[in-house]
Symmetry: D2
Subunit: 350 residues, 4 copies
Amino acid sequence: MEFASDNASGAAPEIIEAVSRINAGYAPSYGADPAMERVRGLIRETFEAPDAAVYLVATGTTANALSLACLCPPWGAVYAHAEAHVEMDECGAPEFYIGGGKIVRIGGRDGKLAPADLRRAIEKTPQGFVHSVQRGALTLTNTTEAGTVYTPAEIVALTAVAKEYHLPTHLDGARFANAVVATGATPAEMTWKAGIDILSFGGTKNGCLGVEAVVIFDPAKAWEFELRRKRGGHLFSKHRYLSAQMEAYLTDGLWLKLAQTANDRAAALEQAVLAVPGARLMHPREANILFAYLPRSTHRRAMEAGAHYYLWPFDQSIEGPGDQALSARFVASWCTTEAEIEAFTKLIRG
Amino acid sequence: MEFASDNASGAAPEIIEAVSRINAGYAPSYGADPAMERVRGLIRETFEAPDAAVYLVATGTTANALSLACLCPPWGAVYAHAEAHVEMDECGAPEFYIGGGKIVRIGGRDGKLAPADLRRAIEKTPQGFVHSVQRGALTLTNTTEAGTVYTPAEIVALTAVAKEYHLPTHLDGARFANAVVATGATPAEMTWKAGIDILSFGGTKNGCLGVEAVVIFDPAKAWEFELRRKRGGHLFSKHRYLSAQMEAYLTDGLWLKLAQTANDRAAALEQAVLAVPGARLMHPREANILFAYLPRSTHRRAMEAGAHYYLWPFDQSIEGPGDQALSARFVASWCTTEAEIEAFTKLIRG
Amino acid sequence: MEFASDNASGAAPEIIEAVSRINAGYAPSYGADPAMERVRGLIRETFEAPDAAVYLVATGTTANALSLACLCPPWGAVYAHAEAHVEMDECGAPEFYIGGGKIVRIGGRDGKLAPADLRRAIEKTPQGFVHSVQRGALTLTNTTEAGTVYTPAEIVALTAVAKEYHLPTHLDGARFANAVVATGATPAEMTWKAGIDILSFGGTKNGCLGVEAVVIFDPAKAWEFELRRKRGGHLFSKHRYLSAQMEAYLTDGLWLKLAQTANDRAAALEQAVLAVPGARLMHPREANILFAYLPRSTHRRAMEAGAHYYLWPFDQSIEGPGDQALSARFVASWCTTEAEIEAFTKLIRG
Amino acid sequence: MEFASDNASGAAPEIIEAVSRINAGYAPSYGADPAMERVRGLIRETFEAPDAAVYLVATGTTANALSLACLCPPWGAVYAHAEAHVEMDECGAPEFYIGGGKIVRIGGRDGKLAPADLRRAIEKTPQGFVHSVQRGALTLTNTTEAGTVYTPAEIVALTAVAKEYHLPTHLDGARFANAVVATGATPAEMTWKAGIDILSFGGTKNGCLGVEAVVIFDPAKAWEFELRRKRGGHLFSKHRYLSAQMEAYLTDGLWLKLAQTANDRAAALEQAVLAVPGARLMHPREANILFAYLPRSTHRRAMEAGAHYYLWPFDQSIEGPGDQALSARFVASWCTTEAEIEAFTKLIRG
């Protein structure tokens, strides 16, 4: 009963096998491996973007920070949701790579930005006024940190505001697959057709060992990205092991199958949780993450029996008196089993 | 006949198997995996350094740049051999991570620094003079870029100069295993007993997929390193795949066996090359890299028949007229076979 | 009738004369001038801080950014009021000098932080959690951006929270003189006795040409400051012209006399404004800045007649219909005359 | 007898008077002062460059570092003479502002680069090779650190090499006036007509208090420069005091008169020195700096009698035994008097 994070999962068998298989013999290093050529083709096909520049890195923080550094000057403001990973969970990596930029935190229900709030934040940055940082870039997250999902139309509404101010746009897609499955939209509809300029396309959380693709829809930034990647220490010498993961991930729709499983399991978790008296959702459950309130006694029983997940936010205590409802985050992954859900269901049913 | 780089090699079977094996089930993320605990123990045991702080990253550039950033302030000079990887091959990663430092290039025969030259370079940086960058740190490379090896006594002679000026020391050990095997010294004798403060302990070139350990002998810098690693995007969520590689690498002396093979093959290459009339060494061959001169016609014959390696430096041409001797670099790895050596031997014998 | 900013004022006669006087003959450069030695003595005496390290720079942004860079690591959070100059008006200079830190904006009435809000913001930065930026430093502003003044007791209440978390503290004293005059407290009571570690001691706005002293009460950071100053381009070769300004400023209490005049004129402005029907204060007027609401028609009349000041915030329009009250900022300086106040009083009286 | 540095001189009377005069009344801040408008016109006229963007800063290090940051990306190499101020005397300011670039040191007789050496250095930076820093920018110094002067033809020969590789060019003109006077060429011929893109136009060493103009001949970089200047803390609020200096400096050819005096005095020094038996030049004396060898006993006699100048390089000792020739640097400035030269002449004549 592991619901703490999709990072606790291993890699899907197809991915591990691909890594083993690619191991045979010699291969050109630093991204010149034939598998990378195939990955480039697969990504371009998947995203209907024949000109996209495609690069692989090993972590999501890297994909985000390098992308934002390519889009935002050192004196720029990055507009982001207040709870975004780039703001909360990267120890300042974007500011480091950008060279000292500023993340402008924008609130928003259920982890999503509202166009009017974005516009207000942009307007509040007095462009052309040398005393202030300048308007830099927009970054969105899909699936959001709250487990909700932007539809293509919602993305368009936000990127349209950014474009109005000539701002480039980035999408943190650490859980992009879960969002695609949730909406039924195509990868293209969820990205460049919706106004996204650079995508961090996550593999790690969804069944890979450690690989993220950066998809640069306007390839003018490609060489700069390569230099920033190398300079950040993120260019792998034995690059084939990144390529093999991404190739397997994109082959035969594996990435979507894995995400479908994760989303389905989260839906089952939602049903189980909502059946508990006093339970209620904290955010709509739209992909593979569930935020819900359960009575403290229910949490205690579940955790003591081995269910692993976090109270969310962290500053609540399982130990306190009373049986008030405490909010928690439950993450399902490609390898969450029906048996785990059933066991958990029994536990919380009491 | 692949002698271009040890980066072209795959991973040793034991390493790949360890990666597959660790895949089962859930594991705590971000370095809290049990395998990392074992790696920490293995490294401390291997280096007889029970207090060392140990971290894993995926590339050598990262290990070097993060280490130097922990040792050298933004206004500091890093003393390095003029041909060092940190100066020539990292696109300015050390300067980026240090926050704008300066690498002071020091010449030296066969890729090695001489203590007197190091002292001269340090003295030339006018310490306490605010107009100049300040004396920062010493970095050595072992096995050197010229394929030679520092003995413990040679390292002591250099770190002693550094210590005289209160400078911390780093060792770029991307090919540390090859140096250990070449000298027969213990890992401790090659590092902290010889005055090294932080070691980049290479796994990637010597049979891993992509893993380097950073061994911080004085753990006071540990937390700063962790923050710099995260902030650089180098903390892996599914960290177990790094741990598994390093664990297998250190188990039953695998790392030394692999390096022994590489060194032996390079020795065989040396013999083969020196048997060619007109051939001679460019640097002493002491580990797994051979620098040698061969007649242009010999190079041409070998390359046309499929031998893969680089003329070194790059600006020589295989196409020119005349049959003068051209220098080249040949790298053997853990997976270079005797058959490859034999085939190559036949080729160049003509 | 210039009330737009104290930056529009010239330098006091004593200051200009000192600059002319110091011009005679040769002088050692880069801060080794005898006048700097005298400045050091004057500052230490003024602040009852015989061990303080003292440096001069030419702008307030520089004083702030260099100070914060000495106190906060690149991965640190600087706790500041949401309207602080370091956050709003320095184009990201603190982030640039810190090397990519994050300013945590804390709201607070009348430009002042409340201890409980500071504590909450610090607690929200999860110390020891590698995914987040770390708790870095506290910066206060006195006189605040809202024209209000912290008393020594209020400063103590805030620095005590910081110290509880082992955080160093900085005071942006661009208008420090005005705050000292307003409270009647001693410079020491307003700084190190109240828990301040580094002070940006402003001269420019209060009658100098361009000079700010950085007073480092714990001199352990002194050498680092010198290197950061040089590296930032802020070490003057002909340093005597900075020294002369600061020497004259501190001689015979000139700095306090100038600030007293500015505060007195602002008090007179306050009286004049409050006499207008419909006028009211936006913040308490405690030093040389007045924030007040006046009817739009009154603003229009005043501005058309040549009064120069800003509607505050900027996004209000003098042109709109109706006669609602609009807020504005009025700044008095050492050279604001009684005649200006009288002329303005007449104007707005209608 | 002050020959240590032109930084030891005060400001010319015209400059000091201009600063006093501009002090009257209010003035718009942050560069919007009317005097700056006049400065812009004077610089454009002086340089025959009607479209040039013109900015003022207070130090030469700032002018250089900001200019190079506008020309060279963070991963770029700046080609400079090994003894250039940007390499030797700025505590890494260019690397700091560039964001971690690398200065490539090129040797060259008498402080001057030779086109062939520049070409070799550029060629050695393997462009388009992601492992290396990239070719960034060329910076020249005129008057050079060795006191010699590039002619327009020599500058053209160097910038032509840079342009061949599409590299932008910067000129460190801390002693630009002395070079103009020495060559008799026009300011335009010494800069944009000779292929220079950005000029650091020095005022401080040649009779100002502290002001340097940055002249950007291609104004496309202007806004970036403004942001970098503000962000570096170099935008003066009471900007008029910078403007007044530069305005007076450029009025009625004052800048050239001051430089002419300095050059003339250095010529007289040269004659005096060469009259000493055993004396000889270290570099040709072409502007206001003289490098010459004199017997140790002569130096001792002069210094003991109060002549102030530096043995150059610093690591020679006036105290040693024997009477060998020691090299020294003598700098004349706008305020060096004939009396000083005569007194010194007498002294060294013995």
